[in-house]
Symmetry: C2
Subunit: 399 residues, 2 copies
């Protein structure tokens, strides 16, 4: 995460975030990211069947490959709101296009918050004038604040590097906290870059990068109706253009993965009620999908997560969760390491140093490494623990 004093900006982008009273008066709840010129765009959306209204609209608009603005409100998800929700979103989109004097089809929309409530359209439209007026090149942090819900800290990552013979910048912002088991993107992630890159390359590289980062995390195993990740590339760096199958695209992909990995790990660290950051690596699987299934079975087990929260080295729950994953296991070949302590091997507990193991469970960063001994494929999942605080936050969310 960048230091406060270094003001964050990306050439060609402006942003802003204000309060229009959807949440409490002191909290920012409406944010805008705007590119001075139309930018190439790629996006991925939740696989949830009840995709929220803004996502349905975006999915259509994104097909043209260009976008210029993303408006986001927090406090209301505009999900499970049917035709009315769709109409409401279009009103916002029309107003923002008019105010920005751009084509409406270049506006992307996003909402996050309670599901099943109607969008407070008037509150939002009445704030659009102020929102647009305040757009400025250092407004990215304000835009990020405006999309936070139960997030405890902002999630911004920025990288600069030379790609295609020019300095380029990639900056990503994200919101996370709860309902986090993305099936392509967690909640909201926006990436801005001045790189010059063609549409196909942007699309491919973005999907690959999301798959390698946001698709490997889980806070509570719950898939949202509003998950969405968007990248806008305005080409203002005037680098040698990035196209598919080019060596220099690899550099861009690496930078992008760095930005997204920083963001998705921040989302896990700020998981609702999270006190620990847990890495679950499954190795030696027959296939990547089996490794993934095993890793998520462990990551999403409430019993594993509460044991981590309680600093309780109850590793038997990890074995039980692994055994419930549904993949074929050769018990004799399975190994389990917690940190650098081997606790289970040859279908039996190992005579480990229990003081050392307790120490590992006291830490706020714990590495779980499972070997299946069945092949050479692996998968790594990042997750958090399950605490009183998670229950508290979510027992009292809507009321």
């Amino acid at each position: 995460m960048p230091k406060k004093e270094n003001k964050i900006s990306v050439p060609g982008f402006t942003a802003n975030g204000i309060s229009v009273g959807i949440k409490s008066p002191s909290q920012k709840d409406l944010g805008l990211i705007h590119c001075n010129i139309p930018a190439r765009v790629a996006a991925v959306f939740t696989k949830n069947s009840f995709k929220a209204a803004p996502l349905l609209i975006n999915a259509e608009r994104i097909k043209r490959g260009m976008a210029q603005s993303i408006i986001t409100n927090s406090g209301c998800a505009n999900a499970a709101t049917g035709k009315q929700g769709y109409k409401d979103a279009l009103i916002i989109s029309g107003e923002i296009a008019k105010e920005l004097q751009i084509k409406e089809e270049l506006v992307l929309l996003s909402s996050t918050g309670v599901i099943g409530k109607r969008l407070p359209v008037k509150k939002i439209t009445s704030g659009i004038g102020k929102l647009v007026k305040g757009l400025n090149e250092f407004g990215i942090e304000d835009a990020q604040s405006a999309m936070m819900t139960t997030d405890k800290f902002p999630k911004i990552s920025i990288k600069k590097g030379i790609v295609g013979a020019r300095d380029i910048t990639i900056c990503g912002i994200a919101k996370g906290a709860g309902m986090i088991e993305p099936n392509m993107a967690t909640m909201l992630t926006y990436v801005m870059t001045d790189a010059l890159i063609d549409s196909k390359a942007l699309n491919t590289v973005f999907r690959q990068a999301i798959d390698a980062t946001f698709n490997t995390i889980s806070v509570d195993g719950c898939m949202s109706t509003n998950d969405m990740a968007i990248i806008m590339a305005n080409g203002m760096a005037k680098n040698n253009p990035l196209e598919r199958a080019q060596a220099r695209l690899q550099l861009f992909r690496e930078m992008l993965c760095d930005v997204l990995m920083e963001l998705c790990q921040a989302v896990v660290k700020d998981g609702e009620g999270a006190t620990k950051f847990i890495t679950i690596l499954v190795e030696g699987a027959k296939s990547r999908s089996e490794a993934r299934r095993a890793a998520y079975a462990v990551a999403n087990s409430n019993l594993v997560k509460t044991a981590f929260y309680g600093c309780d080295p109850n590793w038997g729950r990890i074995i039980a969760a692994l055994g419930s994953s549904g993949i074929t296991l050769e018990r004799e070949r399975v190994t389990l390491y917690l940190g650098n302590v081997l606790v289970f091997s040859q279908d039996s507990p190992v005579n480990y140093n229990s003081i050392k193991l307790k120490d590992i469970f006291q830490k706020n960063k714990i590495d779980v490494r499972i070997g299946l001994g069945a092949g050479d494929k692996s998968y790594c999942v990042y997750t958090s623990d399950l605490s009183y605080e998670y229950v508290k936050i979510n027992a009292e969310y809507a009321t």
Copy 2:
């Protein structure tokens, strides 16, 4: 549940439960159920790949179709304990056979508690003499107490009825509480009956009854290594023998289902930290398996469960969980009732009475009814909420 003053017994069965110091000195932790003559037996076991040692032994013994005794310890699951765990279980089984003067292959074994710890064999064997000596026809309640772990109340159900021209008795006992999403049986369920029934009929009817009862519940979505349900039928009622495809078998099945339903609902009510009993009925599905998938997606959502705990009518989370289930949904056809209040229909929120809805969420028994409008198949799941207490119990379990 039967009243205290009515002493529970099943003709031909004796039982006992004592403390041998595996748990605290005051808690019973070793239980025995014994049939005076070898009984026909059927059983189902967890689908977890890391089945505990006693289950591996039982699975072999059950093939012969006869059993006479079940010994159960709590406080240690003898799971993830490998060859040593297998040997340890065989020592117990040998000792109990010797003491009871029966064939060792007629002894079934069971353990419940912490996974990955060696069975305290000496404590158990040193108590076997006392355990056997104390066997008595009214000992079923003591045997049940001895298998409790985090259970708050005992789970016993008994039915009497006329089947095949004779009075028969079916009595079931269960332990539950945590790691409850059975994939055939939750934790431990033993059923004793004096009905005369042949092996094939017993096997068939028991699997059907478990599928209709224990396989429809979930507390925390975690599948145990030790789940097991066993039925022993000693034939002492001398009824007209029950065989497959007989009308009177239907009577027996109904009685058995009543017993098991009472037990499995008690397991949900006593789910770790549970404050509410939630019924999730999915109707109008294309297939039973799709209805099941949808029902479990809702039942196992931590966000849904915490909303119930918080008495928070945040029904949008139910829609989000349904949408994440992976089944194909026609959004326009989906309906959601909470109690008798329709909250969602035609892809939109209904203008419901929110005071009435709040009242429903205050109750400790809540009915969720989801219509998919895609067919005529349904599935019903019973589950509990997710509370601070669940986190507390499981954060501090092993230490």
